[in-house]
């Protein structure tokens, strides 16, 4: 693998995302959603900061997920389908560099997207801060532009990195983009419920199901550990240890996924 080659492939992915405009239309869409929630909350109960924060974070998460799944599953599959991969793989770029470059390019795209959405989000919160009476502000559990929001957003970013790795992994061998998308979405959903899997034996009275659930719990990523939206929005303490462990586990998980994707991709025939 060569860092220089990875950077060039990643640059091309990023450039395509800009040309494609879809990821950036999603940013605009997200900003509109956030603004709408903002206006709604002003019209109703009045300055419900929590609702605005909650919806803002959820919107960013959803938009990032759309990009990770739609673009992630197409990263390699589209090149194979269009046969543009023939010319690229005959260049002095190893298959591993190509794949890791594709991954890095989409992660970069996601980071820029999250960054733009975060900036818009903070502008809105700043405006809210200016236009709110002091007596209302006294009821806020957390300040309007709470820096802890950045933690929540960064952890959304880590979740998206994992989702992108899952999408890339499926797309290195699946011949159907639809299936890759479904599988990726399934892993994301299951990852959010994996905490429940561990405790399933208290709910179901079947040892076999309990063993299966335990197995899945260890196999699936634990995305719940990376979800601190609730704590941040409601001004509750964050369990930093659990978060740190969750990030470390997710990074290891990403490493294994990309490693397996490279192994599969290295042996693949492009017929």
């Amino acid at each position: 693998m060569s860092l220089a080659a990875i950077r060039k492939v990643a640059g091309a992915v990023f450039k395509e995302s800009v040309r494609d405009r879809v990821p950036y239309s999603l940013v605009i869409f997200a900003v509109i959603l956030m603004a709408a929630s903002f206006l709604m909350s002003r019209l109703t109960a009045g300055q419900d900061l929590k609702v605005i924060k909650d919806l803002g974070l959820a919107t960013m998460n959803a938009m990032g997920l759309l990009i990770a799944i739609f673009i992630g599953t197409g990263l390699v599959a589209k090149e194979v389908e269009r046969r543009s991969i023939y010319a690229v793989l005959a260049k002095p770029v190893s298959r591993a560099s190509f794949l890791v470059g594709k991954y890095a390019g989409l992660v970069l795209t996601l980071a820029v997207n999250l960054g733009l959405m975060t900036a818009a989000f903070y502008l809105m919160l700043q405006y809210l801060n200016w236009t709110t009476d002091d007596w209302i502000k006294q009821g806020w559990r957390a300040p309007s532009h709470d820096p802890r929001l950045l933690v929540a957003i960064a952890l959304i970013g880590v979740q998206l990195m994992l989702t992108t790795a899952v999408a890339l992994f499926f797309s290195t061998f699946s011949t159907s983009p639809m299936l890759s998308m479904l599988f990726t979405l399934a892993v994301w959903v299951a990852g959010h419920f994996s905490g429940d899997l561990r405790n399933i034996q208290t709910a179901i009275d079947s040892p076999a199901a309990a063993v299966l659930a335990q197995g899945l719990y260890y196999l699936l990523p634990n995305l719940d550990a990376l979800d601190v939206k609730n704590e941040v929005v409601h001004g509750l303490p964050i369990a930093w240890n659990a978060v740190g462990l969750g990030v470390a586990a997710t990074m290891a998980y990403i490493g294994v996924l990309i490693g397996s994707a490279v192994l599969v991709f290295n042996r693949r025939d492009f017929k």
Binding site: A4, A5, K8, A12, E16, R19, D20, R82, R83, S84, Y86, A87, V88, L89, A90, K91, P92, V93, S94, R267, D269, F270, K271
Partner: protein
Amino acid sequence: MLAIETEGLSKDYQVGFWRPRPYRALHDLTLAVEQGDVYGFLGPNGAGKSTAIKLLMQLIYPTSGHARILGRPAGDVEVRRRIGFLPENPSFYDYLTAEELLTYFASLFDIPAAERAARVARVLDDVGLGAERRMRLRGYSKGMVQRVGLAQAILNDPDVVFFDEPMSGLDPLGRRDVRQLLLTLRDRGCTVFFSSHILSDAETLCNRVAIIAQGRLAAGGRLTDIVGVDVLGWELVVDASPEAIARVRTRARRVTVLHEQRHALDLPPESPEAVLQILTDAGARVVSLNPVRKTLEDFFVQHVTGAAPRGESR
């Protein structure tokens, strides 16, 4: 050192969905291409040409055997710096312009950023792409994409190029340009390995050919050995009266009336001079006299028995 060598290269594809079974697309291919050769890799459709080239590019892995390029194993990243590859019916990113695509590929070849623009402009000139180089590939015709494919294959001033059906999708002018490009590459000392099912192209370009049919090497060698220098006969065209023609009728293998006085005579290889003498004595005027030699097509037909689907091999 050989430019390209393969030894016992074989490839099975798995065919059949429910009960996959191997289908041998390439069988025990052993080739040696010298540096500086213009090597025609010829065969009817489905013969296994693209399979062999993809194996050389390591886009697919062999079932058995191995391949080397410039003395190193196929697929070696370093050797790829020195080769160019035109895939069959190439396709690239249609959201990029030709210039952008080639600039990206130039970066993959580690061509310094300062030189990229000039290099890209030069190869686009070499393949005859004009102002449309600033247009997105989405709007390109098949022939234009083929030219972009050729441009990206020569971007790194390669020592060996692999062209899979370089003439496909091109009009007669385009094919002439490609022939010219291949000759320029040869003059620069570049080894050219190209596949084709169009024999006339190979005949005017190659110094060596290999003929492959149904996955097996059928024949190969120096083009001069194959087409030979032996004259198989003569084609004589004359303007002569029917009486003059009657005097030589027995000496000709066939006589065809073209129009009025003009006749085409198919003469045996031995001394056409005698026939010419008789005809000119009888007041005939010679229009042309041409030797008939064995062509690559004869050779091809001889070695590819009934394997070529009719209507596609030209």
